[in-house]
C-alpha cells in the first residue's frame, strides 16, 4: 500500500500503542501534523515551549510505563527539546522524539531553521536517526520504540526531512525488530545470583539501596519480599523513593546529600550493601572514598556500563531487577537481624532528620507535611528542582510505587509544571500535586496555558521564598553569605494564575495553610496556592561537598549551634 511518510509515522505510532503526543509544530514538521487528523487515536497536546513537550512526554511515560512521545519542528524547535531529552536520558525514561528537518536538498546548506539535531543529541540519546529515505521510516519507527523501552530505558530521536513526510512510498508494516547488536541482558547470571544469596545469608549488617530501576522494572513486590524474608533494612536513592513503602518497618527512607541522617549512617556502617537498580550517583554516595567503606557490595543493574563505574563492586549482577530478584529471593534464607535493626532505630531517634520546628511563620516543610496529611498520602507528587524538591522528598511519606516524580540526574529547574501535565494525563483518576519553588516555577510557568487548555485537574503548591533557595543555601553555608543573583523577584502568582483562568489563593499566615490545601482538594479543576514561606530556611540534613555520607550537617537546634556541626560518625 502506498502511503506518505507522515501517514507511515502516524500508523506506526498507533501500532506502538501511542495515544498522547506533546509538541509544537512549525514549517518543517507541518506535513506530519497535516496527517494527524487521519489518526483520531493520536491525541496531540500543544504545549508552549518544546522543552515542555519533552518534559510532559517524560511525565506521561513515567506515570504510565509507556514510551513518551514528543514532536518538534526543525531548528529552534529541535534545540528547545534538548534539555528535556537530556533529562530523560539521565533519568532513564523511555521516549521517542520526532523532529522535522529541512528538505533533503537543503541539508548541509545552513538552510532556514536547519540544525544538526542528530549531532547535537548524540551524547544524550540512546540512539538517533536521520531518515533520508521514506522507505526506511517504518523500520526506523519500530527500532526506535524498541530501543527506547528495552534494557535501560532512554530517549531516541528521529529526525525527518520535510519532503520525507510527503514522500509516497510502499508501506509494509515491519515484522520483528532485527538489531543483532542490541540485546540487553535481562536474566541475571545464575552463578552470580548464587554468590549474592550466599553473601546476603552470611551478612550481619546488610542494607538494601533501591533505585529507580526497581520502579522501572515494576519490582516493588520482589523488593519487599527480599527485605521481609531476610529482614534487611531498605533505603532508597532520591529517584528510588516510593519503590518501597516508607511506612514499612524496614524502611529507613532515603540516602544522599539531603537524605535521612540515619539512612546515611546505615549505609556507612553496613557490612553488605545490596544496590538494586541504582547507579551510585554522587548525590547519593557523597564522597565516594568514604562510601560504605566497611561493606561488600552487590550491584544489580541492567546496564553493564554502570557496574564498577563509580564504586568498585564485589558481586555484579547484570539484568532486569525483577528478573534477578525472583530467583535471588528463592535462595535467600529467612533471617533475624534484631540487633542491627535496633541500631538503626537508635540512630533514627538520635538523628530524626525530618523534625519540623514550631514557628509562627510558614515553613515549607510544614506545608508539604500538611499536603501529605490532607491527601492521605495517596497523591502523586511532582516536583521542580531545588529546596522544595528536597522538602517534598523528605516531608511527604511515599507508600505507593512510582508516586514521586522528579528530575534527578539533570536537576532541571522548570521540570515540575510540564511533567505534571504528562503525569496527570497518564493518571487522570489520581490526585496530582505539583510542589514547586518560585524560581523553578518561573522557568516554565507558561504551561499554565496547557493545563487550562486541557482542563487538567492539577494542584500546584508554590513554596515562594523570594530566592533561588538552594543556591542561596550554598551561598550562606559556603560562600560567606554573599547572596549574588539569588534574590528573586516574582510576579503575583495568584493574579498570574487568574490571567490563565486558573483558580488560586495566596497564603501568608500559618493558619491559612490547611484551609487552602482543603480548598484546592475540593475544587474541581486546577488550583494554585502561593505559599509565602520562611525566606532563608535551609534544607537539612545536608552532606557538605567533599564530606562522606555519614558526615551530615543537621538542623542547627539553637542559636549557639554553630556551623559546621557534624555528626561524630
Amino acid at each position: 500500500m502506498k502511503m506518505t511518510g507522515g501517514q507511515i509515522i502516524c500508523d506506526c505510532l498507533v501500532k506502538e500503542g501511542v495515544d498522547t503526543i506533546y509538541g509544537i509544530l512549525g514549517g518543517a514538521i507541518l506535513p506530519l501534523y497535516d496527517t494527524l487528523p487521519q489518526f483520531p487515536q493520536l491525541h496531540h497536546i500543544l504545549v508552549r515551549h518544546e522543552q515542555c513537550a519533552a518534559h510532559a512526554a517524560e511525565g506521561y511515560a513515567r506515570a504510565t510505563g509507556k514510551v513518551g512521545v514528543c514532536f518538534a519542528t526543525s531548528g529552534p524547535g529541535a534545540t528547545n527539546l534538548v534539555t528535556g531529552i537530556a533529562n530523560a536520558y539521565l533519568d532513564s525514561t523511555a521516549m521517542v522524539a520526532i523532529t522535522g528537518q529541512v528538505a533533503r536538498r537543503f541539508i548541509g546548506k545552513d538552510a532556514f531553521q536547519e540544525i544538526d539535531i542528530t549531532g547535537i543529541t548524540l551524547p544524550i540519546t540512546k540512539h538517533n536517526y536521520l531518515v533520508r529515505d521514506g522507505a526506511q521510516l517504518a523500520k526506523v519507527m519500530k527500532e526506535a520504540f524498541y530501543i527506547a523501552r528495552t534494557g535501560r530505558p532512554g530517549p531516541v530521536l528521529i529526525d525527518v526531512p520535510k519532503d520525507v513526510f510527503t514522500e509516497q512510498v510502499e508501506y509494509h508494516s515491519p515484522g520483528k525488530v532485527d538489531l543483532p547488536n542490541f540485546k540487553p541482558t535481562m536474566k541475571g547470571h545464575p552463578a552470580q545470583i548464587q554468590k549474592a544469596a550466599k553473601m546476603i545469608n552470611e551478612a550481619r549488617k546488610p542494607v538494601i539501596i533501591a533505585g529507580r530501576g526497581v520502579i522501572i522494572s515494576n519490582a516493588s513486590p520482589e523488593l519487599k519480599e527480599l527485605a521481609e524474608k531476610s529482614q534487611i533494612p531498605v533505603v532508597t536513592t532520591l529517584l528510588g523513593i516510593s519503590s518501597f513503602p516508607e511506612s514499612h518497618v524496614l524502611s529507613y527512607r532515603w540516602i544522599g546529600m539531603h537524605g535521612m541522617g540515619y539512612a546515611n549512617m546505615a549505609v556507612n556502617n553496613a557490612d553488605l550493601v545490596i544496590a538494586i537498580g541504582m547507579r551510585f550517583d554522587d548525590r547519593a554516595t557523597a564522597e565516594v572514598s568514604g562510601f560504605a567503606s566497611h561493606a561488600k557490595i552487590i550491584h544489580i543493574d541492567i546496564d553493564p556500563a554502570e557496574i564498577g563505574k563509580n564504586v568498585p563492586v564485589d558481586v555484579p549482577i547484570v539484568g532486569d531487577v525483577k528478573a534477578v530478584l525472583g530467583p535471588l529471593n528463592k535462595l535467600v534464607e529467612a533471617a533475624q537481624r534484631g540487633e542491627w535493626l535496633k541500631q538503626l532505630d537508635d540512630w533514627r531517634r538520635e538523628h530524626p532528620s525530618t523534625d519540623i520546628r514550631e514557628t509562627s511563620s510558614i515553613l515549607p516543610q510544614y506545608v508539604i507535611n500538611q499536603i501529605y496529611h490532607n491527601t492521605n498520602g495517596d497523591a502523586t507528587i511532582v516536583t521542580g528542582v531545588g529546596q522544595q524538591q528536597m522538602w517534598a522528598a523528605q516531608h511527604y511519606t511515599y507508600n505507593h510505587p512510582n508516586t514521586f516524580i522528579s528530575s534527578g540526574g539533570l536537576g532541571t529547574m522548570g521540570f515540575g509544571l510540564p511533567a505534571a501535565v504528562g503525569v496527570k494525563m497518564g493518571r487522570p483518576e489520581g490526585t496530582v500535586w505539583l510542589i514547586d519553588g518560585d524560581g523553578s516555577f518561573q522557568m516554565t510557568l507558561h504551561e499554565l496555558a496547557t493545563i487550562q487548555q486541557e482542563k487538567l485537574n492539577i494542584k500546584i503548591a508554590i513554596m515562594n521564598n523570594g530566592f533561588l533557595g538552594m543556591v542561596r543555601q550554598w551561598q550562606e553555608l559556603f560562600h560567606g553569605k554573599r547572596y549574588v543573583a539569588t534574590p528573586l523577584w516574582g510576579p503575583d502568582f495568584v493574579k498570574l494564575a487568574e490571567a490563565y483562568g486558573i483558580a488560586a489563593v495566596k497564603v501568608r499566615r500559618k493558619d491559612e495553610v490547611i484551609p487552602a490545601i482543603q480548598q484546592a482538594m475540593s475544587y474541581d479543576g486546577p488550583f494554585l496556592i502561593d505559599f509565602g514561606v520562611e525566606p532563608e530556611e535551609n534544607v537539612y540534613p545536608m552532606v557538605p561537598p567533599g564530606a562522606s555520607l555519614s558526615q551530615f550537617l543537621e538542623m542547627p537546634r539553637k542559636e549557639e549551634a554553630l556551623w559546621p556541626q557534624r555528626s561524630t560518625l
Binding site: L122, P123, K126, L179, H189, D303, A305, I307, P316, V318
Partner: protein, 176 residues
C-alpha cells in the same frame, strides 16, 4: 592506578555517523585518542577500528562497556593484554643532499623500508612496522632533518585467535 596505553578493536556497522559516535564517546569520557584507524573487515558492511588511547584499566573498561552499548557496535575488545600483531605505515620525507643520500638509503635498507620518491633535496621513505621500529627509524632520520611525517596509526590483530579478545571477554562474562 596509573594510565597505560590501551589498544582496542571495535567491529562496527559501516554506516554514516558511526565513527562520530565512537570518537564522541572517547571525548565524552575524557580520553585522548592517540590513534584511530578504520577500514573494512572480513565481512561486508562491517568496519573494523583500531583505537589506541591512554587510560587506567578500569576507565578503559568503562569506555569499552559504553562503546558496547552503541546500537551500531558489534563488538569491542581491549586486546592490550593479548598476544598480538601490530603494524603501522608511515611516509617520511627527509632532507637529503648528494652527500647524505647514500647514508639515508643505507639506514632505510637496514629497516627494510622503501624509498618511494626522490627529489633533489629530499627522499620520501615508506616504512611499515610496529611502534618501536617506527620510532627508531624516525630517531635516526631526525639527524638529517625531517620535512614531513604522515603516520596511519596502528592496526592490530591478535595472534592465532579468530575473535580478538575472546579470552578476556569470556572472563568478563563470567565475572558478571
Amino acid at each position: 592506578m596509573a594510565a597505560t596505553k590501551h589498544t582496542l578493536v571495535a567491529l562496527v556497522e559501516d554506516r554514516p555517523g558511526v565513527l562520530n559516535r565512537v570518537a564522541s564517546l572517547f571525548r565524552r569520557r575524557g580520553f585522548n585518542i592517540q590513534s584511530i584507524t578504520v577500514g573494512h573487515s572480513e565481512t561486508a558492511g562491517i568496519s573494523r577500528m583500531t583505537i589506541v588511547a591512554d587510560g587506567t584499566n578500569t576507565s578503559v573498561e568503562q569506555v569499552r562497556k559504553q562503546l558496547d552499548k552503541l546500537v551500531e557496535t558489534i563488538k569491542v575488545s581491549d586486546i592490550t593484554a593479548e598476544d598480538r600483531v601490530e603494524r603501522e605505515l608511515a611516509l617520511i620525507k627527509v632532507k637529503s643532499t648528494s652527500a647524505t643520500r647514500g647514508e639515508i638509503i643505507q639506514i632505510v635498507d637496514v629497516f627494510r623500508a622503501n624509498i618511494v620518491d626522490v627529489a633533489l633535496d629530499s627522499l620520501t621513505v615508506e616504512v611499515t612496522g610496529d611502534e618501536n621500529k617506527m620510532n627508531s627509524l624516525l630517531n635516526l632520520l631526525q639527524a638529517f632533518g625531517i620535512k614531513e611525517v604522515c603516520r596511519t596509526g596502528k592496526i592490530a590483530m591478535t595472534r592465532g585467535i579468530v575473535n580478538p579478545g575472546e579470552s578476556s571477554r569470556k572472563q568478563t562474562a563470567s565475572e558478571e
